[in-house]
């Protein structure tokens, strides 16, 4: 804001001023101006003083004004308020508006409610109104908001590289329409992403009718439609499976990362979480068969580590076992037996698993992953059918989208034979098409290529016409969710750069009369005004989900041919797994800073992809040396992977839990043409993505090549080493001693503290250690609010580690992106992090090495614990961090001088410091400077470097900021505030509602922190501890509730519910996995010589008699 001082009739400083004092006094403008500025004093001249004296008095203040720019004359710069000339109805500045919309993704959609300030979207949440929805989202949906304000997005339409006005573009499309109307679509080829939009399907129909000779192809590099394909084969119609995991007691995952990167994981996580309440008969059990260690494997009760190409054999083994238990023989059984003839999995394990699945008939389900071949999906659905789970757990519904579209291989063949006009809708096939198809070469043979895309990327370079796409938050449209419910896509803002929607482009090519998106969507859903308004308001169309078909529609016999004809590949050399990255998806979020910086849920690597290898493989390749990390920075050796004559190179990463002789490569990095954020991040794995093998290939060669590369990772260590940060138990152990979690560490010396617990059971009273950090409410009890006291409980049994909360927090609180270099120095700014621990028992019966290679994984969201006796508050020299009346530990940013003593003192290390002005100075994004001792990254250049605020892009980038939260500058400490802006808004809303009344307590459930609202598993519960009926108060008295580092007596307001695993007692007794309780507990016991299920915890047994070891006990104690 430019400084415009109020107009003065004469300059304020300089000799001229002094000389003209008397003259000034005469001038009428001066008098007028003075009178205006000082109404009370101007007209009154003090008695007895001459005018001259009085002027001299005033001159002193003028001088001050001239010198310092403060005091009388030149105050705060003049700012303006500009209301509308005509006030739009219902608009109030400062009051957010909410609109229902949806994020379309690959044939499905996530229903959302978008919060809009001043006509622009600033936050996305899930839509809780949909039946069977909790309002959760995934990390992709949260981060998609940043894409709207991406300065590197396509901002213009071009033809042959030159800018084109939108009117000319529309004319050109109309010409295409007339041209192909004449010859029935001969030579017109469409290649698009998958879409479940009913409007697009309708227009597609019209085009097929009008241009019968036109050809349609659909391509997604990560394609979840394989599940549809399998079920459709079995049913004989175009159907898709819909999973209701809340009804599943037993789940078997065949390389299906349904809690992570599978499609619609947000609703699968929710269903899964519902079954994780620990109770003997109702708790679910998850078996995971996988090669990579995924979040699903981390949450699994039993995990089988196999090579990816062997999953099909395990699937067959399970199928055989299930059919044998049912005494079913026949073609199917025979086909499966053939596949299972070289068994991979331990037969006892398989037998126990099959028995368990069968024992829970009607409530068991088998899921197959997108990367596995069709036969695995067929086997999974066959087993589901046999287990009678079709109906309650898996329902068959009509598919969201037609699958008549050809594949990309067919598209390339079509292009090779000559095409006139190729229309590419979305996607990025020049980057992600199977490498052995030579898509680029084929495209060059088309005469005209029309490309509708969000970025000017690799595919745009091949196109004649480039149409800038509108983001879904700028578009009218519709979509279908996972179960087929129709949801609207409503724009929150007009396309920032005049982009078009896909349906408009298609409609214009079809030559439809009303091609504008709103008209098209309206036409699809009828013209009944009230129904339309309800559709837009609620965010879904009632009763639009197709009715599930009968379970008997499945005829397992239809699968026999495929199963029998499948030749399971013989594992040779190395297996290669190309997986959908949890950050950048298949490459579409490559330029999204939030996604690049959020750590991978398992590896915690940021800003790039790595080549994952197991511990044993690393030893084989000679890269397992510990000297990779120096000064906390990981300089990783480089591996070269060769498959079918194509090679990729990338930094190696040792991943415990990965199958041996397997390498995992994430897709989506190493883009050739991308924006400033993605440039230089990672390596391109797509050269190994081939049309027949896709995500799984075998026969690759892996060698180490010289060189090292810096990898920025946020969590270096993976072990708890006997410190019970995460506390877990098997279900049987938990039932024998439900409050085991309060019996670890020094808890016997320090009873578990529950704030505001009404019952006096002696736990909250009694001697406590003298705490050197004062408790503000102990000192000044009258300051504590008697209306609200906030607390939070995080359930580790349901948290899967998907990191949606991390991105939601970043979105809500204006958390900056720091770039790879700073992350490598430990300066990532996320207020919330997901800590991921591996645990193994070093004295395991299976041997230490194997145990370390196949560990268990546990995750824990860690955020500011809002300690009541906070170590950080007492040490701030300027009192910038204080305790408020409602129990929050708050930060006053304007007071902080950047001592960082508070972060030093925080035992949980959750305080983040703005070492640089991350908002003002351009970061280096994926560039890593840390290799050099003298760092000359842009951040270090300060004012001499690139200043983002001066660049025109800033006008777009700054729009994503939430106006209710400060944007912090350099030198200021920040941390989780329990979303204090939401708390204040909720309190204010309640007070406004009640007015002159005392009923001001916020109702439980109306206030949700950003992380709580984003979590699809509902693992985070937040609320008022003074309300005994609130959800959080009830959870605080849960026996599983414990405090992290409770022995410090900080009394955090954030507590955790211990994680309960539900292993199969048969598998445990058979000692197949060599464990008899969670590994972390055995590790704790070995370190502390204490068994929390038996003895009172003192941290360790003081060197006295050894307590009975956990490992010699069975589950019950």
């Amino acid at each position: 804001m430019k400084t415009i001082p109020p107009p003065c009739p004469e300059p304020e400083v300089g000799p001229k001023y002094w000389r003209s004092l008397d003259q000034l006094a005469e001038k009428p403008e001066f008098r007028q101006w003075m009178e205006r500025e000082f109404p009370s004093g101007a007209s009154i001249a003090p008695e007895g003083e001459t005018r001259r004296d009085w002027i001299k008095l005033m001159s002193a203040s003028f001088m001050l004004a001239g010198v310092g720019g403060f005091a009388a004359g030149c105050r705060r710069p003049e700012e303006h308020l500009t209301p509308f000339a005509k006030q739009p109805e219902g608009y109030l500045h400062g009051k957010a508006q909410h609109f229902a919309t949806a994020m379309p993704s690959r044939g499905s959609a996530i229903p959302l409610v978008a919060k809009s300030h001043d006509g622009r979207p600033v936050k996305l949440e899930g839509n809780p109104l949909l039946p069977n929805s909790n309002g959760g989202t995934d990390a992709f949906a949260q981060a998609s908001l940043l894409n709207v304000y991406d300065p590197d997005r396509a901002y213009r339409h071009t033809k042959g590289g030159a800018d084109v006005k939108v009117e000319n573009l529309r004319d050109a499309l109309a010409q295409v329409a007339t041209k192909f109307a004449a010859n029935g679509g001969e030579g017109l080829v469409f290649l698009s992403e998958r879409s479940g939009s009913p409007t697009r399907a309708r227009i597609q129909e019209e085009i097929s009718k009008k241009y019968p000779k036109s050809k349609w192809f659909a391509y997604e590099p990560v394609d979840f439609a394989i599940g549809q394909q399998a079920l459709s084969t079995l049913v004989g119609a175009d159907v898709q499976p819909v999973y209701h995991l809340e009804n599943a007691r037993r789940i078997l995952s065949l390389d299906c990362d349904f809690l992570g990167v599978e499609g619609d994981s947000y609703r699968l996580i929710r269903g899964f979480a519902k079954g994780r309440k620990p109770a003997k008969d109702t708790m679910s059990r998850l078996y995971a068969v996988e090669s990579l260690l995924t979040v699903t494997g981390g949450s699994a009760d039993h995990r089988l580590r196999v090579r990816p190409t062997d999953v099909v054999r395990v699937a067959a083994q399970v199928g055989v076992a299930v059919l044998e238990l049912l005494d079913q023989s026949g073609e199917l059984a025979t086909a499966l037996k053939t596949l299972a003839k070289d068994p991979v999995a331990n037969p006892q394990w398989v037998a126990a698993c099959a028995k368990d699945l069968l024992a829970n008939k009607g409530a068991s389900v088998v899921l197959a992953g997108y990367g596995q071949p069709l036969v695995v999906h067929l086997i999974a659905q066959v087993i589901n059918s046999v287990l009678q789970s079709v109906g309650p757990v898996v329902s068959i519904v009509k598919a969201n989208e037609s699958r008549n579209d050809g594949s990309i291989a067919e598209c390339v063949a079509q292009l090779q034979s000559g095409a006139d006009t190729l229309v590419i809708l979305g996607g990025n096939p020049a980057y992600d098409a199977p490498a052995d198809l030579d898509f680029t070469g084929a495209v060059k043979r088309a005469k005209t290529v029309v490309r509708w895309g969000y970025y000017e990327d690799e595919t745009s370079q091949l196109a004649t016409w480039n149409i800038a796409a509108a983001h879904y938050l700028e578009s009218w449209g519709d979509a279908r969710t996972a179960d087929g419910t129709i949801v609207p896509v409503q724009p929150l803002i007009e396309p920032l750069f005049g982009g078009l929607t896909d349906i408009e482009v298609l409609a214009r090519i079809a030559g439809l009369e009303k091609p504008l998106p709103l008209d098209l969507v309206r036409a699809t859903h009828g013209v009944d005004e009230s129904k339309w308004r309800k559709f837009l308001h609620d965010g879904f169309l009632e009763d639009s989900a197709p009715k599930p078909m009968e379970a008997s529609s499945i005829q397992v016999g239809r699968a026999v041919a495929t199963i029998a004809g499948f030749k399971a590949p013989v594992a040779a050399d190395f297996d290669v797994v190309l997986y959908r990255d949890a950050s950048v998806d298949d490459g579409r979020f490559n330029n999204n800073g939030w996604q690049q910086e959020v750590p991978d849920p398992v590896t915690k690597v940021t800003w790039e992809n790595v080549i994952l290898v197991s511990l044993a493989t690393a030893r084989e390749l000679g890269i397992a040396d510990a000297a990779n990390a120096k000064d906390g920075q990981y300089k990783q050796p480089i591996l070269k992977v060769t498959l079918g004559g194509r090679t990729v190179e990338g930094p190696a990463w040792v991943q415990p839990g990965l199958a041996d002789k397997t390498v995992g490569l994430a897709l989506g990095y190493g883009r050739r043409v991308t924006g400033r954020v993605g440039r230089g991040s990672g390596f391109d794995s797509y050269p190994l993505y081939l049309k027949d093998t896709r995500h799984l290939a075998t026969g690759a060669k892996v060698v180490k090549v010289p060189g090292r590369r810096l990898v920025a990772v946020t969590q270096e260590h993976g072990l708890m080493e006997g410190r019970p940060v995460i506390r877990e138990a098997d279900l049987a152990q938990f039932e024998a001693k439900p409050d085991f979690a309060k019996n670890m560490d020094l808890d016997a010396h320090l009873p578990h503290y529950v704030p505001y617990k009404k019952e006096a059971d002696g736990r909250n009273v009694g001697p406590r250690p003298q705490n050197i950090y004062e408790h503000p409410f102990d000192q000044n009890p009258e300051t504590a609010s008697k209306i609200h006291q906030w607390g939070m409980v995080i359930d580790l049994s349901t948290c899967v580690g998907c990191t949606a909360c991390v991105v939601a927090c970043q979105s809500e609180n204006n958390i900056p992106i720091v770039g790879k270099d700073q992350v490598a120095r430990g300066r990532e700014m996320h207020w919330m992090r997901i800590d991921r621990y591996y645990s193994h028992d070093p004295k395991s019966d299976l041997g230490s090495d194997i145990a370390a290679e196949d560990p268990q994984m546990a995750v824990q969201p860690m955020l500011c614990q809002h300690c009541e006796s906070a170590p950080c508050e007492s040490v701030c020299p300027v009192n910038a961090t204080v305790h408020d009346e409602e129990g929050l530990n708050v930060m006053a940013y304007n007071r902080c001088i950047g001592t960082r003593y508070c972060a030093n003192n925080c035992p949980y290390k959750v305080r983040r410091f703005n070492f640089f002005d991350y908002n003002k100075r351009e970061t280096d994004y994926a560039g890593a400077q840390s290799q050099h001792f003298f760092n000359f990254g842009n951040l270090y250049k300060g004012p001499l470097g690139v200043n983002r605020n001066d660049a025109p892009e800033w006008e777009v980038v700054k729009l994503v900021k939430n106006p209710d939260v400060s944007v912090r500058m350099r030198g200021v400490m920040e941390k989780c505030t329990f979303c204090v802006q939401r708390i204040e808004q909720a309190k204010i809303a309640r007070k406004v509602e009640v007015g002159n009344s005392g009923d001001v307590a916020v109702k439980d459930g109306t206030l949700k922190t950003a992380c709580q609202q984003a979590c699809p598993a509902e693992a985070i519960t937040f609320g008022n501890l003074l309300d005994p009926a609130s959800a959080v108060s009830k959870l605080k008295t849960d026996p599983r509730d414990y405090t992290v580092l409770g022995f410090l007596d900080n009394r955090p307001r954030v507590t955790y519910l211990a994680r309960i695993r539900n292993p199969n007692p048969e598998i445990q007794e058979a000692k197949i996995e060599g464990r008899n309780g969670p590994d972390s507990m055995r590790d704790y016991e070995r370190h502390r010589h204490e068994n929390p299920f038996k003895t009172e915890s003192h941290g360790n047994s003081h060197g006295e008699k050894k307590s009975a070891s956990i490992s010699t006990q069975k589950g019950a104690v």
Partner: protein, 212 residues
């Protein structure tokens, strides 16, 4: 050996000390008074593009504050009315007046009027109008007697200590909600203490109340 320094220099350090102390105290006093909002902001009366007089519209014509500042009950921001609000009356009342030319032009062309902002708290302070207006705090306590102003001026300092004066003793300033816009109302017998108790008025005094 002769004296290097004359005798009177013996007093010099003490004199220097006293002078420094006096100078420091003066500077401090000056800054404490002059460089605080009480001096720098009170009295600020910029010239507005349209000579709107609150005295005429509120005192004389009895318009309620919320007729124009309609967002104050729902939003943190108390909005300046749009030109269309002015034209509600002025399309007929004084519809050819010279002084209202800018308003008519704005309404016709859609170009907003650029009012000069008078009351503004720093960006790191998050003040919310709706909660004050709905909990018995009248406009007059922070904006002064706007109903008597021909040209609005900044009447109160709006410094943090000014806010805390009320937050610490709300019983002195609270009134029933219906009387919030009656700027001339004098408290004769309304029990502020009882209102604070009954309505559970606990205005925060910790940092998170305003600073986030």
């Amino acid at each position: 050996m002769s004296d290097i320094f004359p005798k009177w220099t013996n007093q010099l350090p003490m004199m220097a000390g006293i002078a420094a102390a006096v100078l420091g105290a003066t500077a401090l006093a000056g800054i404490t008074y002059y460089v605080t909002p009480k001096y720098t902001r009170v009295g600020y009366q910029p010239k507005q593009p349209v000579a709107f007089s609150h005295a005429i519209h509120v005192d004389q014509l009895n318009l309620d504050c919320r007729y124009c500042h309609n967002g104050v009950e729902k939003s943190w921001f108390s909005n300046i009315p749009s030109s269309s609000t002015c034209m509600n009356c002025h399309s007929q009342v004084r519809k050819d007046s010279e002084k209202l030319a800018l308003v008519r032009e704005s309404y016709a062309s859609g170009k907003p009027i650029s009012w000069v902002q008078i009351h503004k708290v720093p960006d790191y302070v998050y003040f919310n109008h709706s909660v004050h207006v709905n909990r018995g705090i009248s406009c007059v306590h922070c904006h002064g007697e706007i109903n008597k102003m021909d040209e609005v001026y900044h009447a109160k300092p709006l410094s943090m200590s000014f806010c805390l004066d009320c937050h610490r003793e709300p019983e002195k300033f609270v009134r029933p909600n219906e009387l919030v816009t009656k700027l001339d109302w004098k408290n004769e017998g309304f029990d502020g203490k009882k209102a604070v108790h009954d309505w559970k008025i606990q205005p925060g005094q910790s940092c998170s109340t305003c600073h986030r």
